[in-house]
C-alpha cells in the first residue's frame, strides 16, 4: 500500500546479532570443517604425525575463537555458566553449547594423543569426534531455524549450506596450513571446489526463488542484491565462490593459486555470511 506511511513510531533497533556472531559462524566453520575432512585425508594415505597434530590443534584454536566471540556477544557474559546449570534442551543454542564444549575436550585429547604418538587411542576417538563436529556444524542451522522472526534463516537450505561452509573453510584452512603436504593438496582443492560450487548453486537458487516465497523474502533479497548489504553480499559471492571455483577448475595444481583461492574463499565466506546474518534483522517486524 504505497500511500500508507508510518508517521509515529519508535526507531527500528537494527541488528542485535552483528559481526561478533559472523565471527562465531566463520570460525566455527573452520574449526569443524578441518575435523570433518581429517578422516578423509587419513584414509587416503595422507597420514602423518603433522596432520594428526596440526588438524585438531587448528580446530581447537578456531573453536575457541568461536567461543570467545560467543561470550563477547552475550550481554551478561559472566552468566554463561547458566547454560549448564539451567539448561533448556528445546533451545538449539543450549544444545550447541554442550556440543561445542564437548568438541573442545575431544580436540584436546586428540592433540595429546598425537603428541604422545598414541595412534590407537587417536583412531578410536576419531569417529566420536567426527560425529560431534558434524553436529556442531549443523546446530547453527537449527539455531537459525528457531529464529521465528527471521524468514531468510528459516530456509531448508540452511543446513546443507552450513555443511558446505564448513567444508569450504576447512579445506581452505588445511590448504593454507599445508597439512598433509603436497599429496593432500589435490584432494583438498577438489573438496574446496565442490563445496564452493554446490554452495554457490544453492545461493543462486535462493536468489531466484526467494522473491516468489513471501513479501519478507523479496524485501531481504532486495537488501542483499541492490540494497545496503550489496557491498557485502555481491563481492562475497565473487571473491569467495566464483573465483575459487574458477581457480580449482583452472589451476588446482598450482600451490600459489590454491593458496590465493583459499584466502579468497575464507574472505568471501565471511562477507556472505555477514550479509545473510544482517538481512532479516533489517526488516521491520511491527
Amino acid at each position: 500500500m504505497n500511500n500508507a506511511i508510518v508517521t509515529l513510531d519508535v526507531l527500528h533497533q537494527g541488528p542485535m546479532w552483528g559481526w561478533y556472531v559472523t565471527m562465531n559462524f566463520w570460525a566455527k566453520s573452520v574449526a569443524t570443517g578441518v575435523m570433518l575432512i581429517l578422516p578423509f585425508l587419513l584414509m587416503n594415505k595422507h597420514d602423518s604425525k603433522r596432520i594428526r597434530l596440526l588438524t585438531p590443534a587448528l580446530s581447537f584454536v578456531f573453536l575457541n575463537i568461536t567461543l570467545l566471540f560467543t561470550l563477547l556477544d552475550l550481554h551478561q557474559p559472566f552468566r554463561f555458566w547458566h547454560m549448564f546449570v539451567y539448561p533448556q534442551f528445546r533451545s538449539v543454542l543450549n544444545l550447541g553449547a554442550w556440543f561445542l564444549s564437548g568438541l573442545n575436550g575431544f580436540l584436546l585429547l586428540h592433540v595429546f594423543f598425537a603428541w604422545k604418538d598414541k595412534e590407537d587411542a587417536y583412531d578410536k576417538l576419531l569417529p566420536v569426534t567426527w560425529v560431534v563436529a558434524a553436529v556442531a556444524t549443523i546446530y547453527t542451522a537449527g539455531l537459525m531455524g528457531q529464529a521465528n522472526a527471521r524468514e531468510l534463516w528459516q530456509v531448508g537450505t540452511e543446513l546443507p549450506q552450513m555443511i558446505l561452509a564448513a567444508l569450504m573453510a576447512g579445506s581452505s584452512a588445511l590448504l593454507l596450513a599445508k597439512a598433509g603436504g603436497e599429496g593432500a593438496r589435490r584432494p583438498l582443492a577438489l573438496i574446496l571446489g565442490l563445496a564452493t560450487g554446490v554452495s554457490l548453486l544453492i545461493f543462486l537458487a535462493e536468489i531466484w526463488l526467494a522473491p516468489q516465497k513471501s513479501e519478507e523474502a523479496e524485501y531481504m533479497m532486495h537488501l542483499l542484491l541492490s540494497g545496503e548489504l550489496k557491498m557485502y553480499f555481491l563481492p562475497g559471492l565473487l571473491l569467495g565462490f566464483v573465483l575459487p571455483v574458477a581457480a580449482v577448475l583452472g589451476a588446482r595444481r598450482n600451490p600459489l593459486v590454491m593458496a590465493a583461492a583459499s584466502v579468497l574463499s575464507l574472505t568471501g565466506l565471511w562477507l556472505v555470511k555477514h550479509a545473510w546474518l544482517l538481512a532479516p534483522q533489517l526488516l521491520p517486524l511491527s
Binding site: 508510518v6 508517521t7 509515529l8 526507531l11 541488528p15 556477544d73 552468566r79 533448556q88 524485501y219
Partner: protein, 213 residues
C-alpha cells in the same frame, strides 16, 4: 486460566496513555518500550485517515521466545503469561531473533532481555495491567480466555472481525485486535522512512541499543 488481551482499534484514539502508564509502572528505560502505539497515515489528501495500533508482547501460546531461550529465563506462568526471569537471562538475544512481533528488547540497564508481561505483578494482586487502567476509551480489554463469561471472551464471540498479528507464524497469540486492517497489523503494508514523521525519527538506530554492529 488463560489470560488474554484485546484492543478494539475502533475505540483507540492514539493518546498513548497506555504507553506512558506502562513506562511508569515498569520503569522501562529511556529509548526502550514494552508497549508502544504506532501511527500510520493512509490515503491521499483530502481523503486521509490515521490508524493507531498499540503493540506489545502477544503472550503466544506457542511462544518461540520461550522455546529458544537456552536458560529457561523466559517461562510460562500458570495463567498463560510469558514472563522473564531477568536474574537468569544471559543476554544472548535468541528470544529477540525468535519473536516475530519485535516485542522483546535488550534492557540497557540490566543488560538482559525484557518485554511486556501483562503487568504480572499487578495481575497477581488482582489488579488489571497498567495500560488497561489508563485507557480513556476502554479500547483495551483484558481477561480470562478460558472463562466463557469474561468480557474478553464475550467480546471475541460478538465481533467477527477479531484478528491476530502474523497468524501464519503458528505462534497462537493471545493478543487480539478488533477492526485491524493490513496497515495496522502488517509491517510491510506501510512505508517506513524518515521525512514523514511527526516528532521523532522512525528509521533505524545507527548503533542498536545493546547491539554489536
Amino acid at each position: 486460566m488463560k489470560l488474554g488481551y484485546l484492543v478494539d482499534l475502533e475505540n483507540c484514539i492514539g493518546c498513548k496513555a497506555c504507553e506512558v502508564a506502562c513506562k511508569a509502572e515498569n520503569n522501562v528505560p529511556l529509548g526502550s518500550w514494552r508497549l508502544r502505539v504506532k501511527y500510520v497515515d493512509a490515503g491521499t489528501f483530502p481523503n486521509v485517515k490515521r490508524a493507531f495500533t498499540p503493540m506489545r508482547c502477544n503472550q503466544c501460546e506457542n511462544a518461540p521466545c520461550e522455546r529458544s531461550c537456552p536458560v529457561n529465563a523466559l517461562h510460562f506462568l500458570d495463567n498463560g503469561i510469558v514472563d522473564i526471569d531477568k536474574d537468569r537471562c544471559i543476554g544472548c538475544a535468541a528470544c529477540i531473533q525468535a519473536c516475530p512481533y519485535g516485542a522483546i528488547y535488550m534492557d540497557p540497564i540490566s543488560h538482559t532481555a525484557d518485554k511486556c508481561n501483562f503487568c504480572a505483578h499487578r495481575v497477581e494482586s488482582g489488579l488489571q495491567p497498567a495500560c488497561v487502567v489508563a485507557c480513556p476509551t476502554e479500547a483495551n480489554i483484558f481477561g480470562d480466555l478460558d472463562e466463557s463469561d469474561s468480557l474478553i471472551s464475550r467480546y471475541i464471540a460478538s465481533h467477527p472481525d477479531v484478528k491476530v498479528r502474523k497468524p501464519e507464524k503458528g505462534t497462537r497469540p493471545k493478543h487480539f485486535y478488533v477492526a485491524g486492517g493490513a496497515i495496522h497489523l502488517d509491517p510491510l503494508a506501510s512505508k517506513r522512512e524518515d521525512g514523514h514523521n511527526l516528532f521523532n525519527r522512525i528509521g533505524r538506530l545507527d548503533q542498536p541499543v545493546e547491539g554489536h554492529k
